[in-house]
Assembly symmetry: C2
Homo-oligomer: 699 residues x 2
């Protein structure tokens, strides 16, 4: 039923296709290699691959009447009809009536081989097969080999739906914008933004320094701002001193690399002068299908700023933050996915990001080198399935999931648990206190266990019962060790780690939060942990929105929506009261002034627009509007709305079939859904939500 | 001692560097994807990969005085000195006196990231390290991670020795040539050749057909010639109908894709006319250091035609043949390597070809999909070491050797032997009789055994004693089964195969030849096999020069140089008497007329310029001039000259230190060597060959 929306919906599209993951890796390379640090190129430190340069697309057709195909390809190509190679690279070709096999090979070293085929009934789409090695050799007599063992994938695609929309030409959208105010040479664009700075009316000769700041302090600090540019203007020629590009001086100079900033500070040497500064804002067009409004304007502002934060960090892929890394990080992205399900519900963005993170075989490190990030990636795939019912993607990505699970298993210890080995980054969180990363960390075991469970479920969904059983057994084994190894019954808490068989004394919130979320504790233990850890001021406070996301989620799952609303208003509201126009990478309410800007030992090292800051989007959608799928793709779902202390709330949650609208005040809940089989749960009442018809329930 | 020539010689060079194998794979993709078949693009059917898009080069220096570096890169780059990132992409930078670390990251999606650094003492070369993932992350305080477990390789390089010689701009050399005669519209270029056809003086409108032929029959046969082009000329515009390229009509139209041919036939439709046809001959510049002359002009002609055949097939890489595949095939290439050691001695060509064949991890099929070809690749690496003493290459390529050995082992049967599984091409040879490819083929076990022995030796050379022992033990196990499983004491021969534990009756020459060459038979058995198989007319005759190569070699090893000389004159001389200007892919002396042109069920399917046809080069150098290294890189070598029935022979054999010159007649042998420690062996005499001084020995 749900497959109607997804499987067949995609399959019948007429769209450009490629080897799944290859376009994403290629586009991701472009993005991940645009980072600069104070004028220096700053690429990722993990392995980056490229696309297969020659791939074969194929399909089988059964035509009632002959049909003319239009073929477009990115690359050199050939076409075989029923095994017979055709002359040249035909842009038009007629397929006779009847059953036929069509095989098209495309080669492209520079950009991913891609294909677009269009006919009355024959249309390229993700139902086409693709392989990177067809192993079709011939023998002495010219007879072709049996290629029945060739590994075919279902083709990858996005939204390049006409012959002229070349995948390799994809670019984000740009809009010209001007600064809202100017203080000497400091230009203020009014809020955090991203794009290409433009210098107007350059005259004279000399050097122009352009210093970008998320804060005015950063922009004015030539020596320490994170990003900058220098131009040398000499006799009508302008040279970018970072990139060595030289162009003729024109009315407007546009920088070729985008930057994140709110403020731009200009400093000149010599006779050169700059009349004005503007920008081309660059963004991914997204529609905010998800909405939230309530009686509290601070909460509404949290939603708006969260939405803008997620908009800025939703680019070719979900990135971490716009100023510094601008890279795709799995831990960060897995939070963006969840927020996205309650805002844009852009499945393609989720899948692209997952493909890029997966990279190519062989696996030589954890995703982004971080152990936790491999686990988040595995977990997030099953989550995605719940929101999308996209079984085709599961089929495509599952072999990579198996590879990661194998990679992790090959590095487990004698207990079958994970420990950080040489080359593994054990991250957990940026904490304000040294955290021992040695031995078995309870946090990593819990994520590992959940990742195995998620992979086993996907194995079942793609019909690999042998691996399903093997991986589920491994998950059960890890799970069986969690409490014996890490539960401290005196502290009523999961301790941080275990070294050489010895449980440590240290308690952090992290693993306790996840043990609640993943239901690895009894109800009694959860209540104990809520008191002994989550609401215990003795335990180290979390100062990243990253881990506060999960902390808030765990509390919501324990029904503490009112508590969480207070926390959100204090924490995210705290950033707003510091003047935030987007949410930050880290926020410690006890800091003050420019302390808020510093990180990594650098005065402006902190990102002030970080995707993981935007979690109110997710929390408000899932735990206040209260909507979540209970069957894949919202085929079934539940609505458990909660005011959390507010007077009224209202909003929309996107789904594959449209949206679900919720209004609630202290007296009444109203729900209208475009589809699916929903259940409204208020108190002990469970009311069926009909499709397409508003229902209203008195509380 | 020998390391002086190789290791340090390369290390001190100032040259462009890259990730080893990556440039070769990129260049190989360009070459392997240029094949066409009757106007259709025809790429390989095995997996083709691409380069890592971001790599880090590094070195450590200790400078007496400060030094200015010039930096050139193919790609965006950054530079760290002692861990500190420098601004921009400096083309000049000064390194202060003292000990310093230099790290340079280069990113390039389109062509392989490459680097050239030039200073008074600091020069980029293959002694620089390179990695595709440095795993250098930072913690909260900005402290960098420990990268001591990062996998570094020694950088790859070739002969791009100045800043302006960009590796990505490499191209073969072109020389304009004209046809030697013309018969109507059939142009004859006098001998087999390769390049870009040029049409002169096109006038009028219409279609021009260009039909290429290695024979006049092929060129004149529009319907069956293997390669062709069609142009459409309309009102001063010319469109190549195969590639869809359109250009303005000019005095000369040059085709953009090279072809192999001796004859070009032009056919026009409409009012269009072509005044003349010429070509740009394209070739790899090589110097024939190896030479051979003797009293017999037929043998001299064999050498010359062999040399020209190898010259034509020695392109960016050693390819199979110039007309049809134009691909790098491991079995073919491993013969080219051996011929090359006696002709060009171009180590770089050998290494490039081996890198391309190795491809990238993970291994998903045999090299070129062919089981035998994986084994030849492994064997040829140790051979290369014997001719070059290039330990650096062994260090670089060894991990890939291990991967292939593991891949093969993962597919062995219960006996630990190899059988063709689904997707494996078990090739052996193009034989004129159906050959059963099922079960355990003696031929494949013998190659497998030798491949394991070669890998074990390389493991020892790179200091991996654990794998050396493991792989040597595996080789011993396979070897111990060869005779019990395949020797038929009645037939006095190794039989072809064994299915379900049952030895077959069939005997082919192939495995018997290799068992002799690899010394897997006792001296008595060798003599028996010579009679019962090699010289037995009842056993299927070999009709490819490919396997005749080894047949001749085995006979030479048995001392049958006179017999081999007769065979060579009959077989290669047979092709010459058929008018060959290069040696062929296959030659059956019992064929006649156009039968010689047919193969693969196609009338002109056979390649008339095939590298494996050129084996007289190797045989004459190694078994008549009689020169071979006995220690790596000719540090020690032997000369066992043999007239093989000729009156006199004379020639040079290239070595890392220069060459070894031999003259022999029935009375006297004269040897002069530029280096090494040689032993001249004539009859029972063993005479030391001094370096740089001619010696002469009376027979």
């Amino acid at each position: 039923m749900i497959a109607m929306y997804i499987g067949i919906g995609i399959a019948s599209a007429q769209t450009w296709i490629w080897y799944p993951g290859d376009y994403e890796i290629w586009l991701g390379n472009k993005m991940n290699n645009r980072r600069t640090e104070r004028g220096a190129f700053f690429p990722p430190f993990w392995r980056q691959e490229s696309h297969f340069v020659t791939v074969e697309f194929s399909t089988q057709v059964d035509l009632a009447t002959a049909e003319e195909l239009t073929i477009a390809a990115e690359g050199t190509f050939n076409i075989k009809i029923d095994g017979k190679l055709q002359f040249g690279m035909p842009q038009k070709i007629t397929i006779p009536a009847g059953q036929h096999k069509i095989n098209i090979k495309v080669h492209n070293q520079v950009t991913p081989p891609a294909l677009f085929v269009s006919g009355a009934t024959i249309k390229s789409g993700s139902h086409w097969k693709v392989t990177s090695e067809d192993k079709e050799w011939i023998d002495e007599s010219g007879k072709a080999s049996d290629t029945s063992t060739t590994t075919y994938m279902q083709a990858g695609s996005w939204n390049f739906n006409d012959a002229l929309s070349l995948p390799s030409q994809f670019s984000l959208v740009r809009d010209a914008q001007i600064a809202v105010s100017k203080d000497g040479n400091l230009y203020d664009f009014g809020r955090e933004t991203f794009g290409y700075v433009k210098l107007h009316g350059i005259i004279g000769n000399g050097k122009i320094g352009v210093f970008y700041g998320e804060s005015p302090e950063e922009a004015r600090d030539e020596e320490h701002c994170e990003t900058l540019d220098y131009l040398q203007v000499t006799d009508g020629m302008v040279t970018n001193l970072a990139t060595n590009e030289t162009v003729q001086l024109d009315n407007i100079y546009v920088f070729s690399n985008s930057k994140a900033f709110r403020y731009v500070y200009i400093k000149t040497e010599g006779s050169v002068d700059v009349a004005n500064v503007s920008m081309d804002y660059e963004y991914m067009p997204e529609t905010a299908v998800g909405t939230f409004r309530c009686n509290d304007e601070l909460v509404n502002r949290m939603w708006e700023v969260g939405q803008y934060t997620l908009q800025l960090t939703t680019r070719e892929f979900f990135i971490d933050g716009i100023k510094r890394d601008r890279w795709v990080w799995s831990g960060d992205a897995s939070q963006s996915y969840l927020m996205n399900y309650y805002l844009f519900n852009d499945n393609d963005e989720v899948k692209r990001t997952m493909w890029l993170l997966a990279g190519k075989e062989p696996i030589s490190s954890h995703i982004n080198t971080i152990m936790d990030y491999t686990f988040y990636w595995l977990i997030s795939i099953y989550d995605y399935y719940m929101y999308s019912a996209d079984t085709q993607f599961l089929q495509q990505i599952y072999p990579k999931m198996l590879s990661y699970v194998d990679y992790v298993e090959s590095r487990t210890d004698a207990d079958g648990l994970v420990q950080g080995l040489a080359g593994d980054w054990v991250f957990v969180d940026w904490a304000d206190k040294p955290m021992d990363k040695h031995g078995q960390l309870s946090f990593e075991q819990i994520l590992y266990c959940r990742a195995l469970e998620a992979t086993a479920k996907v194995a079942a969904l793609v019909g690999d019962s042998e691996n399903e059983q093997k991986i589920a057994a491994r998950a059960a084994d890890v799970k069986s060790k969690l409490l014996p190894y890490f539960w401290d019954d005196t502290k009523k808490a999961i301790v941080h780690n275990r070294i050489d068989g010895k449980q440590s004394d240290e308690v952090f919130k992290f693993s306790n939060i996840f043990a609640i979320m993943f239901d690895y504790l009894s109800d009694e233990q959860k209540k104990e942990v809520e008191k002994s850890v989550l609401l215990n001021d003795e335990v180290l406070k979390i100062t990243t929105p990253y881990m506060r996301f999960y902390e808030m989620e765990a509390l919501c799952q324990l029904g503490a929506q009112e508590q969480v609303m207070r926390e959100m208003k204090a924490y995210w509201g705290g950033m707003l009261s510091e003047g935030a126009t987007t949410f930050w990478e880290k926020y410690n309410p006890t800091d003050s002034g420019t302390q808020h800007l510093a990180m990594y030992g650098r005065p402006y090292g902190k990102s002030l627009c970080h995707a993981w800051g935007a979690s109110p989007i997710y929390l408000l959608g899932r735990y206040y509007l209260g909507v979540q799928p209970t069957k894949p793709g919202y085929d079934e779902y539940e609505v458990r709305p909660s005011l959390g202390g507010l007077k009224w709330i209202e909003g929309d949650v996107p789904t594959p079939f449209g949206k679900i609208h919720i209004r609630m005040n202290k007296k009444r809940v109203t729900v209208k859904s475009d589809g699916g089989r929903g259940t409204l749960i208020v108190g002990k009442k469970q009311i069926e939500i009909p499709s397409g018809k508003e229902i209203s329930v008195r509380l």
